[in-house]
């Protein structure tokens, strides 16, 4: 942990600002239901992963709540955009807040920037309110001057709780 603190304090303010804006923009795309723009934040080999519990170290060969590359994300986008996606007839909206952003350092092998943050998401669906909260771990890669997501791991504190209904879209 001490290493992380060192790495974080060593990140320059411009990078911190840049990364923060990126994470805020990512949340904004989700809350605005701009699905294709959201998918386009990911690199060609990017992955979105939500493990069932914090102790999982890989999605490979283990159960996942979400494990999606851009193609599977596209399936999800096309599903919720289909006129006969019945569950989408219910009015719904989300609000994400992202904070506690820690730049953990740079991965020596890939050069990816490792960033941890905390999120809180409120969802309203019909007359019901649900809360989801947890940790994002991003591997960010700079391509053509823009940050892209090489991987996003989402550890929800709710992950093992019984779900009232399901998760229809990325958290």
């Amino acid at each position: 942990m001490a290493e992380h603190i060192t790495a974080a304090s060593g990140a320059d303010l411009a990078t911190y600002h840049d990364v923060s804006q990126f994470l805020f923009q990512q949340s904004h795309l989700l809350d605005s239901k701009r699905w294709q723009d959201y998918i386009d934040l990911f690199t060609e080999d990017g992955l979105y992963w939500m493990p069932p519990a914090p102790h999982y170290t890989t999605w490979d060969g283990t159960p996942s709540i979400f494990i999606e590359d851009r193609d599977l994300m596209t399936v999800r986008m096309k599903r919720v955009s289909h006129p006969n996606a019945w569950s989408q007839q219910a009015e719904w909206a989300t609000n994400h807040v992202v904070s506690n952003i820690v730049i953990q350092g740079t991965d020596a092998g890939s050069g990816d920037l490792l960033v941890q943050s905390r999120f809180h998401m409120l969802e309203v669906r019909r007359d019901d309110v649900r809360h989801f909260a947890g940790t994002y771990q991003h591997r960010l890669r700079k391509l053509d001057g823009h940050w892209r997501i090489a991987s996003q791991r989402v550890d929800m504190v709710n992950a093992q709780a019984a779900y009232e209904y399901v998760l229809q879209i990325w958290v």
Binding site: P52, I65, H82, A85, Q160, Y163, V166
Partner: protein, 437 residues
């Protein structure tokens, strides 16, 4: 059951339709809990959930909080999770290990894994009391019956009634099919349980599992979305991963579904024939077949893989998809709320690729981020809403009514889209709810 209650139940079920009160009346729900869930065989869990002595896993039958505990050897006990001293829940986590003895957190009463009392503090204080004279009564209460079939553990709160194997009857095929696909005849649980609450009566789930008309309607959005990306991948790379087919298969038209067969058995169990082309001829499948042929011989292997079972419903608590090694158990909460517990199994000794293939189904279809069940749960909730209204009294199960064959208590249909499974379930429902003992 009083005569008027019995005639009330009978008045709700006609051969081809059911009164909405079966779903919307909280009093009927209480009777279901007492007469079905707290009487018949209910799924507890799989023995590999508790591999080591003292391992436990909590679950519920009807209103009763229970705990499944591994003993010191092969035995598995199912206990009421309640200390006989002051009633405190002894096991506090969803699952864990009890240590040397299951110990109450309030006054340190300790229990053997079979529930019997190991020790109490300050035992001298009980001298000459009724506790001392009846120590055998001061254990954690065991449920009336625990039986296993091929590693799948069931419990019954009632000492009477048929044994598990007799009660399962032809529905045993669910477990035979899943286990026989392992060259050593065993499965082990993947240690993760997804839990999702359905805002609908438990019977919506039971009826939906073998309803072959709903997939291409309910799941149209996902079916088409997956088919589109599947085509793109095939175009770009020449092949497409099998797991896209798990989603695009939901576009299968009615006519194809109707070519399947359904059957309904005594006690309410029902089966649906296979449809997903789950015996492909890719190298992974062929490697698996080779291992099975080595273990069982060619003829037996063909019998195993030729079963063509897609879905087995074991009334009233589980749905098993044996070719994909998935099991969903339901725990009714109230007339309009139902908890589902979703498990995946690994075929012991089978190639890793077979496990990974079915893992995709677990992730894409059965996880809490499911692209399939999202629309099921929506429909059932809307169904519950409708059946609570005065907009009509009856639920229609007329499709292919009068064309089932009915022999020795078994219903069979050569129409996969027949509403036979619903009719068969309600026939059993009446029997359970009107049983005098």
């Amino acid at each position: 059951m009083p005569r008027d209650a019995e005639s009330d139940i009978r008045s709700l079920v006609e051969p081809d339709r059911v009164h909405r009160r079966a779903y919307s009346d909280p009093d009927i729900f209480e009777r279901e809990i007492a007469q079905i869930f707290e009487k018949t065989w209910i799924y507890a869990g799989h023995e590999t959930q508790v591999p080591n002595p003292g391992d436990y896993w909590q679950f519920q039958i009807g209103r009763q909080p229970l705990v499944m505990v591994r003993g010191n050897g092969d035995e598995i006990h199912v206990l009421y999770n309640r200390c006989p001293h002051r009633g405190v829940q002894v096991c506090g986590s969803r699952h864990g290990n009890g240590g040397d003895a299951l110990t109450c957190p309030y006054h340190a009463w300790r229990f053997h894994y079979d529930g019997s009392l190991e020790s109490v503090p300050l035992e001298a204080g009980y001298r000459d009391t009724r506790f001392a004279a009846n120590k055998g009564d001061f254990g954690m209460k065991r449920v009336a019956r625990v039986q296993r079939y091929r590693g799948f553990v069931f419990a019954s709160l009632d000492p009477r009634g048929p044994d598990l194997v007799e009660w399962l009857g032809e529905a045993r095929v669910a477990f035979d099919d899943i286990c026989d696909r392992s060259p050593v005849g065993r499965v082990e649980v993947v240690p993760n349980c997804f839990r999702v609450i359905q805002r609908s009566n438990w019977k919506f789930f039971m009826e939906n599992q073998l309803d072959a008309v709903h997939p291409s309607v309910t799941h149209m959005s996902t079916g088409y979305a997956a088919a589109e990306v599947e085509r793109k991948l095939k175009r770009e790379t020449g092949s497409q991963p099998l797991h896209y087919h798990y989603l695009s298969a939901f576009t299968t038209p009615f006519e194809k579904w109707d070519q399947l067969e359904t059957a309904g058995y005594p006690y309410g169990h029902t089966t649906l024939g296979g449809y997903m082309g789950l015996r492909p001829s890719d190298p992974d499948t062929l490697a698996h077949e080779k291992i099975l042929a080595q273990a069982y011989g060619e003829q037996r292997k063909e019998e195993i893989l030729g079963r063509n079972i897609h879905h087995v419903l074991i009334y009233p608590s589980i749905s098993v998809q044996s070719p994909l090694q998935q099991l969903r158990a339901i725990r009714p909460i109230s007339h309009n709320r139902t908890l589902s517990e979703i498990w995946h199994f690994r075929l012991v000794g089978a190639p890793e690729a077979i496990y990974r293939r079915s893992l995709w189904y677990y992730n894409l279809v059965n996880s809490p981020a499911t692209m399939i069940n999202a629309d099921d749960l929506e429909n059932w909730q809307r169904g519950q809403f409708g059946l609570s209204s005065d907009g009509g009294d009856w639920v229609s199960f007329h499709r292919d009514y009068g064309r089932d064959t009915d022999a020795n208590g078994e219903l069979h249909s050569t129409n996969g889209c027949s509403e036979l499974p619903m009719r068969a379930q309600f026939r059993a429902w009446v029997n359970y709810l009107t049983a005098t003992e």
